[in-house]
Symmetry: D2
Subunit: 340 residues, 4 copies
């Protein structure tokens, strides 16, 4: 299958290129970048040095391929959806444009642009663990946001089982790559290094996706932390009825028993007893762990991912694998490093 | 005033030494360390190089002084309280031994040792912002724990005003120096570097102090983060009635208007709009900021301190300044660095 | 081919396990650890979670396999060489014991133990770029030290071409994982974080290997830097005669044109113009770059590797691939991450 | 004495403000910034929160004061020297414009602007350890560059004693604050974090100052490392004749015995045996250590400073203290933190 990556010089775009170059079923045909057009991929992504001779192209040089990945800023995907759909039967959109199907949620969290309703209706939600059957014959896929994806995988089993009371608190921590490639005052190393920057105490857009997927009310706070890659969400859930940790684990095991990329972290004595983002760099895993207060009501669920992989490019490839009928783990076999 | 620091080779002890060497009213007489006895202070604290010729002594070489600071492991202060009280009319205990006055709370969070009740009754709580009058004639002072101190300063004004509903969530983040000087598997750099280690999802001991000081129920989770110094607490408070951010600020301004070491962080447009621990390294400040959800009920209060200063040695010196009738800021004038 | 990893709970051992689990020609039979015996591999290496059900075994539970990797402390390999050689026809030693063939160099840099001379004579030097033919029929392979390997790959082309005058200065910088898994005062996070610790200004043992391989005199200084993985060497070479950068590049291109894991870094305008260790985490690459002073005599050659991969486990697998007649890159296809 | 800081929103400017606010003899009258004019100082320097109510002013709002500090980009100081000299009898220039007195060196390392020769002739070199007498009656002072200052303090005693043979290699490592406040691709956190970026293998401008001060030929390489503050230089010196470490130490002791801000680091058994920049954050110290090869000819001299303090603002204040006849350490008494 021949593939195009639009917006290939960004961090999500670069990660798509890395994964697709190693994918046994995919041939990378075009990688676009307005800024880097005409230059080798390695000038934007030095890890690709020696691995490919491809150069970046302009958007308007792209010919027909079998799938187009849109790794573009929010707003740009909906604007150009006709163009890209004319060039490929499959579209995988990594922007936020086609994620939210509820008009209410979109108006609240994404004021401004409105996607074309017909196109929007074709897009399936790119969360394999929740929508695998839906994805099998998908032509248009909207991949979830990084923090949203982690929070949804952390909360969905509880919400689906009706165990959640009240409003859930999602404390999200994110590395600097989530802010993208363009430097600004906040990403300047002397300012960004070593921070615990409470960047968004309320109202983060990823809440829209969590509410859409889980159907429970949430507050979400986002702290920028010292890391390049990695997202961790700590969910404080009040359970409807007092229960035991064993019973909560059973809910998660039922939900994720057969998932290739969700790992339940349950250790008694090891050093690493909770999901740790740094261990997931480069992998498509979502690690989930939990702790229940002795009262049996306050549950802490922790999930960790690499924001550029399971929170973006890897999840996109996993969705394509499902839609194309390939082995779901194709191109996603890196298991991560320790120590790191 | 001549001073003794017991346990002077630890990190809190070293910070005490640094502050006392620069204190205009204090002369450092003895600094004890079993491990380093006989060696110059700089071998344990290289920042003191060229600043003092003192050497560490054994505990049993200490003579009478005017004040003894106990920077010792929990359990050791209560065990030796007779000995140190015989050598000085004033004791400042930086361990947890004499912090908790409620038997219930102590049994729940500090099972094991029980301090002598007569000595315990003499100890005043070393939180100047709450107990300044109490501290003016104190001879025995128990300085608060680092995360507890930050959380108490963040929550007390709300709790005292009766604004808090339900259970408050305290998400605490801590640097590695809080774990003390002794290396272990978890502090080994390849494992500790870059972590977001959910070290204690439930049941942390510092909850006892927060509950004692604020009188409201809390859940507390502790995450070890990439930092050497620094504690940040993010408190999720449900307000009893919907209110405005302006009204909440008024509560904090009333509480801390005259405090020399509490700074309210309220910026519209600057990069640093919330308390950032890295900016407080070496200072005795507690910075406090907040954000209220548009519904007016979910309040996020953020507080940051240097765990070794306002969370330990600096707070101890501030308490002594009050008890001795000196300028409360003596020896505590460092304002911190930027960038850092 | 069935394989045994001795010393599998250490960092080099863990990296061997990671690579061998993904190797198409290898089946991992035994992984030994005195400390972790009986426990799952993931307790020491959390990245292996969900990837394998193997548990650590004691050394004396190991049966016959086709190859034994010795990831043990220096001294332990030579002591047990009879035992392991009886259990496998191939031995890959990652310790220093069988690296140095010159008695003079060994006595100077490795006083203490002396390997059995017959065994030593069987060991081939595990540097594929210099000894590929030698390795094709090797049964016993001694893999190079991490900093030595980087320095040798940086200097050998020049030395072999007779271009080096005087004494070469090798400034090596190393991450914390190079110090191994056992915590000590120097690896304690509050002390190790953010250092530029000139750990060894003179006399580092890896000089022995560099001198043995390149035949030129060197001084080597080692600085511990803020990183978990990664080694960078900066070599200051005085050229025998003034020359041009183009001519120097020609020497390196001739040397490494066909090497699958040496990449020459030569960029005019990109951000990443010199070898950067962080980009190589998890990969088997050695990146090499250079700069010649305008006088044409002072040449700076920079090489970077992941100390646990090209500086250890990856190099060992590459050597085995050659010795076994497999594709030289088998199991070593990870290309690294950016950003990271 | 009333003072003006021109270019007060930059990092060096902010550090000047921090130091001058704590200086017993100085009153800060104006702090200029084109970008921040009209806003409180804390918006650019959050560490000053609660410490001062000053706001930034435009350059053309500055009135007469007793001293003007120029913390401006290179080129801007020489351009506006008439203006500022008209407003104050004393000028302390922290830019490079008035550092180099040799035309040859300036043409080679600073092509482009040429300072007015009359003004240039008035400027004294702002290195107290070398030019204290010269500074006592100075009205115009040009403070040294950060890496140059560290290298000069490391090398000058040897050079002055005629002990240096051949060309000295200066390997400089620098934190990100040295690049100033303006974000760019290279300072973007995902790219800058964790680097060992060989930024300048040859031809760095600070060589001009080292050569001017020490009179010996040097090669200098600059690596950007993971740090915000801090410069470390590792100087590889070939001695004219074989000597002993004790004799080399004697040279340094003679040179710096009475210096308040140079500390010789000579430890046998402590963890911190060599100058470590992180321990110097916020201080005006230059720490110097050394190691001599067993052959007695290859000497490694290591010096560390905080680039914004001893490498800039602190050195400027020390020079002013000398010129004004005050205690040389006024305003510079912070001794630094450990751990950090």
């Amino acid at each position: 299958m021949r593939a195009t990556v639009v917006g290939g010089s960004g961090y999500i775009g670069g990660e798509l290129v890395r994964l697709l170059l190693g994918h046994p079923e995919v041939e990378l045909a075009y990688v676009t970048s307005t800024r880097y057009a005409g230059r080798p991929l390695r000038t934007a992504h030095p890890n690709l040095r020696g691995r490919t001779n491809l150069t970046f192209t302009q958007d308007d040089e792209v010919g027909e391929t079998d799938v187009v990945f849109l790794a573009v800023p929010h707003g740009a995907a909906m604007k150009e959806i006709d163009r890209w759909s004319a060039l490929a039967p499959r579209i995988v959109d990594l922007s936020a444009d086609h994620r939210i199907h509820s008009t209410d949620l979109r108006e609240r969290y994404y004021p401004g642009g409105v996607p074309d309703q017909e196109w929007l209706a074709r897009f399936r939600t790119g969360i394999p663990e929740l929508h695998r059957d839906d994805l099998r014959d998908a032509t248009h896929i909207a991949v979830a946001g990084c923090m949203a994806n982690a929070a949804i995988l952390a909360l969905h089993p509880l919400a689906a089982a009706g165990l959640v009371a009240g409003t859930t608190l999602v404390d999200a921590r994110t590395g600097s790559s989530g802010g993208g490639r363009v430097p600004d005052e906040g990403s300047h190393h002397p300012e960004r290094s070593g921070v615990l920057r409470m960047a968004k105490p309320h109202g983060h857009r990823h809440m829209a996706e969590i509410i859409q997927a889980c159907g429970v009310p949430v507050y979400m706070s986002v702290t920028a932390v010292e890391a390049v890659r990695g997202v961790q969400v700590v969910c404080h859930v009040m359970l409807r009825n007092p229960t035991t940790e064993r019973d909560v684990w059973a809910v998660y095991r039922d939900a994720y028993r057969h998932e290739p990329f969700v790992r339940l972290v349950r250790e008694r004595s090891a050093l690493h007893r909770m999901p740790e983002p740094k261990l997931l760099s480069g992998t498509n895993f979502c690690d989930i762990g939990l702790s229940l207060d002795e009262g049996g009501e306050h549950l802490v669920v922790v999930a960790a991912i690499d924001n550029l992989v399971k929170g973006g490019a890897g999840n996109a490839v996993q969705c394509l694998n499902i839609a194309a009928g390939w082995d779901e783990t194709s191109g996603l076999d890196f298991i991560g490093l320790h120590p790191v």
